[in-house]
Amino acid sequence: MAQLIVDNVSVSFPLYHTEGRSLKKTVLAAASGRLGEDSRHRLTVEALRGVSFTLNSGDRLGFIGSNGAGKTTLLRTMAGIYEPVAGSITTEGAVTALLDPGQGMNPDLTGNENIRLRALFNGYSEAHIRKLQEDVAAFAGLDQFLALPVRTYSSGMVVRLGFAMATAILPQILLMDEWLLAGDASFLDKARHRLETMVRGAEILVLSSHRPDIILEWCNRLIWMENGMVKADGSPEEVLAAYLPPDQFAHALEAAGKAA
């Protein structure tokens, strides 16, 4: 059973490169109370403030909120990249985060070399690395491109490689940012199919997106983030009804209805 508990998590970023006083004042005035000073008078941005929720197997959680609301920071914190300043994250199960299309890949290395690095990071054996390379090649439809450096790929190809790599290693908890939508229509179908298989195997999916139709289609729970805090937490319909203007909400419901 996979589980993910976010308990009263706060994250704040130090701003080291803005020492100037005037700049400090400008920024302080501009940002609605989310800037504070820490004990040593360094400027910090409180990206997350007291966020709590628990996810269990089968949960498909969406995050929605304006730019800078803390969605991506929360995903990174859940992935264990940023360690929280207060609170704790407990995960049970292998976590994979698809946060940016590059996926920490080295653009100068070939697709196959990047897959090998990812496999070694997961502690795979030589035989398994080859199997993973074949699996990714088949799923991403990149065949001969895998022998070329990643920087020669189109952005869509990078997305396909990143997604194939992240899901081929069978995560129990998958954290995704919205860039996945850069794939073409046929790839989106394949991606959906693979994710559905994964979620059916009682795993956890966390998705951050600006698109209500995607949220309605993929998620069974939605959290609305605002200013680094949870503004609303509930079913996608409830939360979206509060988040969107009524006409857009109706439109999104309609779009999601068609897709399903």
Binding site: A2, S10, F13, P14, Y16, R60, A79, G80, I81, Y82, E83, P84, V85, A86, G87, S88, I89, T90, T91, E92, A94, V95, A97, L99, D100, G102, G104, M105, N106, D108, L109, E113, R116, L117, L120, F121, G123, S125, K131, D135, T167, A168, L170, H193, R194, E196, T197, M198, R200, L216, N220, R221, D233, G234, S235, P236, E237, E238, A256, A260
Partner: protein
């Protein structure tokens, strides 16, 4: 949390996947996949908790050595991808430099080429390792920012990568040393069994220095140029191009030589290779400085490790 409408759609979308249609999905879980261990990341200010996490970080790097090895190998390969000679350039450029400088300086210092050239070769090759580890160590985390910010990974992997990469470079350069030694009939002494503990100490020092300089370099962006200047000065005040014996009669070098950690480190490797007897004083100085380095690195790493991703 799941209301009737969404759970209905959930079931509906699940129904779309007929049993036989499953083939495009991921295969069965691999036998060697990561086990579903429970991981708790809690904000903590207790040193004991931080020490535990730092040790976990180091342990994870030790287990990931195939990754460290492959990363280093790819680094070297990438550097020479598309060049005709490939990594052979490492060997060749060292050989060219040693030949040019060796002949010129032997004349300048009034030295016999047959004794000066082997000394210079081994000194330059060893110094190259020290100074490259120091300069690349300062950027070991800033260069790996894409990796650090996309997945949870032990941070010490990036320091180990710098060490491993430079060990590979050293391996290429050792060929030149071997050739020069053969050419001039230089033989390692009877005390060359100390080369093994010496090299292990070098590896430990290189790892600690990369970790320490990398953390400082990530937090303070002025560190890389500062370290570059310091290493430049160290190159001139350390007996690398010159032999301390050349200046012994002037009596001014003892202080510089005896307090210089680089000299002691060089000497514990260079001495046995050039057939000199064991130098206990050099070992003492090297061990004392190393111990200090490990202590400082340990404190800084335990303290700064959780903050590193925020600095990138």
């Amino acid at each position: 949390m799941v209301d009737a409408a969404s759970s209905f759609r959930y079931r509906q979308s699940m129904l779309m996947i007929a049993p036989g249609q499953d083939t495009a999905g991921p295969g069965s879980p691999p036998a060697d996949a990561a086990p579903a261990a429970r991981l708790i990341i809690a904000a903590s200010h207790s040193w004991r908790e931080r020490l535990r996490l730092a040790m976990t970080d180091l342990g994870a790097t030790a287990r990931l050595w195939p990754l460290v090895w492959t990363l280093s190998l790819f680094d070297i390969r990438l550097r020479y991808r598309g060049s005709l000679l490939g990594p052979l350039w490492l060997t060749l450029s060292t050989a060219i430099m040693v030949a040019a400088i060796g002949v010129l300086y032997a004349k300048l210092f009034h030295q016999d080429v047959a004794t000066y050239l082997p000394f210079l070769t081994i000194s330059l090759v060893l110094w190259n390792f020290i100074s490259t580890v120091a300069s690349e160590g300062t950027t070991c985390f800033t260069q790996a920012d894409a990796m650090i910010r996309s997945m949870r990974m032990p941070h010490s992997v990036h320091a180990a990568r710098v060490v491993m990469r430079n060990v590979l470079v050293l391996g290429h350069n050792i060929v030149v040393v071997a050739l020069v030694f053969m050419l001039f009939g230089t033989r390692p002494g009877l005390d060359c069994f100390t080369l093994l503990p010496g090299f292990l100490l070098w590896l430990a020092d290189a790892f600690a220095a990369s970790l320490l300089l990398g953390l400082f370099g990530a937090r303070f962006r002025d560190i890389p140029p500062i370290v570059a200047s310091v290493m430049q000065i160290a190159f001139y005040i350390t007996p690398i191009m010159w032999n301390p014996a050349m200046l012994a009669h002037r009596g001014l070098v003892r202080a510089i030589v005896e307090l210089n950690p680089f000299y002691a480190l060089l000497e514990i490797m260079r001495g046995p290779l050039l057939g000199l007897p064991l130098d206990p004083a050099a070992w003492q100085i090297a061990l004392a400085y190393s111990l200090g380095l490990f202590l400082v690195t340990g404190l800084v790493f335990v303290r700064a490790r959780p903050r590193l991703p925020y600095w990138l």
